[in-house]
């Protein structure tokens, strides 16, 4: 987590969240988080780096890497929304990186990757997160129990 907050501390005290704030690592059953990481940024950026599946504040959050978005790679550096809860493309160094599919209680969470490698989600669209896992947890907090819907936008510009 970016920082330990009063709200999180209260939630933690209530037993909703365990020690994730203090440790920077989830009370998770992350699919493959090979080793604990340390460091201010590394703690969260690393957690769930290869996928995650955990219960966070009573919501199941899952994230899996998908194949790099072929259409994105073709466009050369396109990185952004796919509209299906998956996002991917290239990082700022131009290498094709991962795509991600992230879900909250089985519903797609729309993610977009920034040019600096950080992430935004449709729930927190005016701030960036170091990892899809961090974006998913923030979305759980701010949804306050609401279930996600598929995106409804006005179609192609």
């Amino acid at each position: 987590m970016p920082q330990v907050t009063r709200r999180r501390a209260l939630l933690a005290a209530a037993g909703v969240v365990s020690t994730l704030s203090a440790l920077g690592v989830a009370n998770s059953t992350a699919l493959a988080d090979p080793e604990p990481r340390t460091g201010a940024r590394g703690a969260d950026a690393g957690a769930g780096a290869d996928g995650f599946d955990e219960v966070f504040q009573g919501r199941r959050i899952q994230g899996v890497r998908t194949a790099p978005d072929a259409s994105a790679a073709r466009k050369g550096g396109h990185s952004g929304h796919s509209g299906h809860g998956a996002a991917g493309g290239q990082d700022h160094s131009g290498h094709a990186t991962e795509g991600w599919s992230v879900r909250i209680d089985g519903r797609d969470l729309h993610l977009m990757r920034n040019a600096d490698g950080t992430w935004v989600s449709v729930v927190n669209h005016y701030e960036t997160f170091d990892s899809p896992l961090a974006a998913a947890r923030a979305a759980v907090v701010d949804l306050k129990g609401a279930q996600l819907l598929p995106l409804q936008t006005g179609g192609a510009r």
Binding site: P2, Q3, T5, R6, R7, R8, K75, G77, H78, S79, G80, H81, G83, G89, Q90, H92, H110, M112, N114, A115, D116, V122, V123, N124, H125, Y126, E127, T128, D142, L143, K144, G145, A146, Q147, L148, L149, L151, Q152, T153, G154, G155, R157
Partner: protein
């Protein structure tokens, strides 16, 4: 003549007319068109692709046009209504009159974030959300409760951004380390515009932010800050002059309207005025700007403003 006023100076009658116009647009479906317009662009504006409404130089002119269109829509209901602006460097508390039941209503309840008072509370029967990212039909807010935005931007922080001389810079996206636009938008620096969305919370922080009427008052002030910046930097120009493969130049048309360019929008006085345009020494928020001896208008025509 359209004069946009500081929301703190609106009379009760002016607040009532503004709220009534919003509720009418909601009832006839027009409001949803604006939410959809914004979210369609916001969800596809990306750092390494085509981007026009956000994280790009046209962030300011694009929103200016959107606000002009919205103001016109409000005026189809009541021609006396103009968009008020919310100077969050001054009115920084959830206890501000902005959030009173006779205006925007207050913060959301703990349980689910639902706004429970004022004209935009779901319980009022007049404000059911239609363009949504989640199943709940009610407006949510968490005023000042985001751990990542406990305070609104301060006047000093805004001043530091207004001091930036260059409008924008390569690579014209959210990663620009310098430039007024990216610092005002908030992806770098003290975080100005983005942080206000976080501070309000609920839908304001999401990809469907115009569901909260606070969106319009916030963006009317961001728009005003652009005008203030122009007055301080009369030699600075909109950049880039020419379009790139991803962003719009000074004379490039802006979708979805495709009949307007940043050049057409560069001087707000062609479209509307701010209350402070006439009484610059009286305005609370322009006091510092005028204390340096450059008070009054100080601007030439369109060329200087560009």
């Amino acid at each position: 003549m359209n004069i946009r006023k500081n929301q703190a100076r609106l009379s009760r009658a002016e607040k009532r007319r503004f709220v009534n116009a919003l509720l009418t647009l909601k009832r006839n479906g027009t409001y949803e068109e604006f939410v959809t317009l914004h979210s369609t662009f916001f969800l596809s504006d990306q750092d390494a692709g085509s981007r026009v409404g956000h994280r790009s130089p046209s962030f300011l002119p694009w929103h200016r046009r959107m606000l002009i269109e919205f103001e016109k829509a409000l005026q189809t209901v009541d021609r006396r209504v103009t968009l008020p602006y919310w100077d969050w460097t001054q009115d920084r508390s959830p206890a501000s009159s902005l959030w009173a039941p006779d205006f925007l209503g207050g913060t959301g309840r703990d349980l689910d974030g639902q706004v429970m008072d004022g004209p935009f509370a779901y319980g009022s029967g007049n404000w059911e959300l239609k363009v949504k990212i989640d199943e709940n039909p009610f407006l949510r807010r968490q005023l000042g409760l985001s751990p990542r935005a406990p305070e609104l931007p301060t006047k000093a922080e805004v001043e530091s951004v207004l001091a930036i001389d260059e409008y924008d810079t390569e690579p014209w996206n959210s990663t620009c380390a310098t430039g007024f636009r990216n610092h005002l938008e908030g992806w770098r620096g003290p975080n100005v515009h983005n942080r206000v969305h976080l501070w309000v919370g609920g839908q304001m922080a999401t990809g469907v932010s115009p569901n909260d009427p606070a969106f319009w008052l916030h963006h009317a002030f961001v728009d005003k800050l652009w005008a203030q910046w122009q007055r301080r930097h009369p030699r600075s120009r909109y950049l880039p002059a020419e379009s790139t493969d991803q962003v719009r130049g000074f004379r490039a048309t802006l979708p979805p309207w495709n009949d307007v360019t940043p050049a057409d929008l560069i001087d707000h006085r062609r479209h509307y005025f701010f209350d402070t345009d006439f009484f610059p020494f009286r305005g609370r928020e322009d006091g510092a700007a005028n204390a340096d001896g450059r008070g009054g208008d100080g601007r030439g025509g369109d060329e200087d403003a560009a």
